[in-house]
Amino acid sequence: MALKTNVRFPQRGGMPEGDPNNSHDLLTQEELEKRGILLTSLDKLFRWGTGWSLWPLQFGLACCAIEMICTTQSRFDMSRFGYEVFRNSPRQADVMIVAGTITEKMRPAVELLYHQMPEPKWVIAMGSCAISGGPFVDSYSVVAGADKVVPVDVYVPGCPPRPEALIDGMLQLKAKLLHPERQQVVRDVK
């Protein structure tokens, strides 16, 4: 969408004129960008920066953690997108990847880790167990999904998901950061 800005472009210096259809001689954002001027808000700029440098919390709960480790290694290489900085301390992380089954005994620890992370923070539920408890949901000791414990932003299906799927989940989280006006995106999985 082309937003109207109230920046009046100077008419001197041989610069091209504005949109002839624009009776007020105001330039749209797109026209400004064509002229090499980027107009943005600090909030948007920060969200753009955060989206390219998400720092996940380094912890795994089950076999999905192995796929998460593969994702960081050279074959799949999450650092192409700037997500390779896995932090050992929740104080330095802003994405929690719930990689595996949450058991009832693990629930308080996951909750505590989430509360120890500074705002703003996001959660990715990786794999069937983190989405809804997975094959062990009817057991006496398994929590039926990460969203029963912490608010989840992105669900990555799979048992376990391929590393490409986790990268796609991180990119979906980036899209959510850059476009907060989007309500919900449901991907078709075939």
Binding site: E104, K105, S132, G133, V137, D138, S141, A144, K148
Partner: protein
């Protein structure tokens, strides 16, 4: 590693068991190192095994025989010197699930017995710290007993797509 111990092989253990615990310990058929042990001689048998060089308690587990009304405890003890593995099986009644703790013999028995207590509710007399180890505080019931019934929460027990 123990010092000044006479390392006993499977044959010597069988001979010693036959001599000292004649009617209390019997060799299970078609095996050379598995013994059915009466509960009252479990402690002296374990002490003898340690003194014979069996210093590695590999595992303690249990089986619930609901129809026969008994638990069967299984102890696996290894010997680092000659690689022998001895299995002791103890049957106790389901109504009074209690057996002597082996913590005084092998330190490794501490957590293994806590796990068996956690899953089966078998009491170990003389255990220094008998409380749940896998399940959380406040959990009720013994999950690996055959008559354990789990009350599903509202997210459990859903119809499967298949």
């Amino acid at each position: 590693m123990l010092n000044n111990v006479e390392i006993a092989g499977k044959q010597q253990v069988a001979a010693e068991f036959a001599a000292r615990f004649a009617d209390k310990i019997e060799l299970i058929e078609n095996t050379d190192s598995e013994y059915m042990v009466q509960a009252e001689v479990l402690l002296p048998a374990a002490e003898y095994l340690l003194s014979a060089g069996y210093e590695f308690l590999a595992d303690i587990t249990a089986v619930d025989y609901l129809a026969e009304g008994k638990f069967r405890l299984i102890y696996q003890v290894g010997n680092y010197q000659n690689g022998d593995l001895i299995t002791l099986k103890v049957e106790i009644s389901r109504e009074e699930p209690q057996v002597n703790s082996l913590c005084a013999v092998w330190k490794a028995a501490n957590w293994l017995e806590r796990e068996v207590y956690d899953m089966f509710g078998i009491e170990f007399a003389g255990h220094p710290d008998l409380r749940r180890i896998l399940m959380w505080d406040g959990f009720e019931g013994w999950p690996l007993r055959k008559d354990f019934v789990h009350q599903p929460t509202k997210y459990q027990g859903r119809r499967r797509l298949d």
